[in-house]
């Protein structure tokens, strides 16, 4: 038994060493590269040297980031924003490499440097700002409710005692729980990994309502379902980058504000029918 204990302690020590090494490594690289760069920050130089901007986007959210099953092409308003940033940094909007992310992978992919930016319906929260840089919001949307027509539900109160499916890593759960408390009703919130899984659960009757930001929900509307008129707590989407990549964060922020003032952002939003 004593041997077992030693093994466990050894494993824990090994794990912590691994993390210490990982952290030390990243700290060292930022230091050495920042001293090498002159005007440009190291993270931007790294992108330029690579010649391509790596962006994490959604592939299951129509109009924002969606992979067309027929053509295999990933398109959406968030890809347009990524292109605008690529043009700014690399001078060519086609020099982007998009990578599908999910709610669960987008944080780790930023941290390990697999992607430079995540532009994937990423809601800005104070908690998240401690881990990542967020740009000014490029889109504002409220949480909405999708229910089956046959259920005859017209508002949140109609969902009293029912089950609502939401996505992991979305702020929907918190919003709904606060709102239900205000209205003095009881709801059961279940979290799923992806949007299609929630839709499947709604179809099979496992849940009574599919709730997420309104514009995302619109992509899952079909003949048997309806989106209720109510909207709750506006969600602000921002372009996220790794906390230490301050150069990239600044470029993204400048780009979003620039697109806002020039009306370019509105044009993109209208182009994708998100107004």
């Amino acid at each position: 038994m004593k041997k077992g204990l030693t093994l466990v302690i050894g494993m824990i020590m090994g794990l912590s060493l691994l993390f210490a090494a990982g952290c030390g490594d990243s700290a060292a690289t930022t230091k050495s590269s920042s001293s090498g760069a002159s005007a440009e920050s190291a993270d931007i130089k790294a992108v330029k040297d690579r010649g391509v901007l790596k962006v994490g986007v959604k592939v299951d959210v129509p109009k924002f980031g969606f992979k067309d099953p027929a053509t295999g092409k990933i398109d959406g308003m968030e890809i347009d924003i990524a292109k605008a940033i690529a043009k700014k940094i690399l001078g060519d909007e086609n020099k982007i490499e998009v990578q599908p992310v999910t709610a669960k992978t987008r944080g780790p992919l930023l941290d390990n440097g697999e992607v430079d930016y995540v532009i994937a319906t990423f809601t800005i929260t104070d908690e998240r700002k401690q881990s990542y840089n967020f740009s000014e919001p490029y889109f504002k949307d409220g949480v909405a409710l999708l229910v089956k027509k046959e259920a005859g539900i017209t508002n949140l109160a109609g969902l009293n005692g029912k089950k609502i499916g939401v996505a992991q890593s979305a702020t929907t759960k918190k919003t709904l729980l606060e709102e239900s408390k205000k209205q003095n009703i009881k709801i059961d919130v279940l979290e799923f990994g992806t949007y299609p899984e929630i839709k499947t659960a709604l179809d099979s009757g496992r849940i009574d309502c599919f709730s997420v930001d309104a514009a995302i929900l619109a992509g899952y509307l079909d003949d048997s379902t309806v989106i209720l008129a109510d909207r709750y707590s506006p969600q602000l989407y921002g372009v996220a980058s790794k906390k230490s990549n301050e150069g990239l964060a600044k470029v993204a922020n400048d780009m979003v504000t620039e697109m806002q003032s020039s009306g370019e952002l509105d044009k993109i939003i209208t182009k994708w029918g998100l107004k």
């Binding site: 990243s26 780790p108 998240r128 401690q130 702020t171 979290e191 799923f192 496992r206």
Partner: protein, 223 residues
């Protein structure tokens, strides 16, 4: 220290320890019940696999091959999202317990079958000659010997079963993995969250695995 393992993220985990505790309790409960179900099914079907009657052996094969050759994820998904179309709406707790129990039952059946077959045929014939019935021979002669062979692999199966309860996270099962996913993806403090979750799984699985090794060693000595 910035990055995924920043100190404040560790503090957040320990502040919300009840979230993980709730999931841990659920994982334990599902594991225990699913294990009981797997043992009952496994012993039943395992004995069928060594039966004289051909149809019984066929039933054993169908169950074992069907379950062992489809992923647990699909079986759980079917129980959760498929059965409602047939009018069966099991609570998610039952989906997990039944799904995981039936899945591992097939593996237990194979272990039990192998255990029984490992007992030399002569033992059975000798028992018969002494006037034992089929069931009597099984109960007093074959199974006690088969048990010794089956124990170590069974303990390993139990470890796998515990780890496999994590598929319930996919269908909002409320066990440890679900709560870890939910917590880690809402605030994105995934680093410490998954480390703690992993350690909690180790806390149950490691003692069991050690016990299996102990059993194996004892088997070597006495055999």
């Amino acid at each position: 220290m910035p990055g995924p393992f920043a100190l404040f993220k560790w503090q957040a985990v320990f502040q919300d320890w009840d979230v993980f505790a709730e999931g841990f309790g659920m994982t334990l409960l599902v594991s225990v019940l699913a294990l009981a179900l797997a043992l009952v099914l496994g012993i039943l079907f395992g004995m069928m696999g060594t039966a004289q009657l051909k149809p019984l052996r066929y039933i054993n094969r169908i169950y074992v091959e069907f379950i062992q050759n489809t992923p647990l994820v699909i079986q759980i998904f079917f129980l959760y999202n498929g059965l409602p179309y047939l009018g069966v709406m099991m609570p998610v707790f039952w989906v997990g317990m039944l799904g995981i129990g039936v899945y591992h039952g097939a593996y237990v059946a194979e272990v039990v079958r192998a255990g029984i077959l490992s007992v030399p045929k002569g033992q059975f014939e000798a028992a018969h000659a002494q006037g034992f019935s089929y069931w009597g021979a099984m109960r007093y002669v074959i199974l006690p010997q088969a048990k010794r062979m089956a124990y170590p692999p069974l303990t390993n199966l139990a470890v796998n079963l515990i780890k496999n309860t994590s598929v319930m996270a996919m269908v909002a099962g409320g066990e440890l993995m679900y709560h870890a996913d939910s917590w880690a993806s809402s605030n994105l403090y995934y680093g410490p969250a998954y480390i703690i979750t992993g350690l909690l799984y180790i806390a149950i699985c490691f003692p069991l695995a050690t016990y299996a090794k102990y059993l194996e060693r004892r088997l070597e000595v006495t055999a």
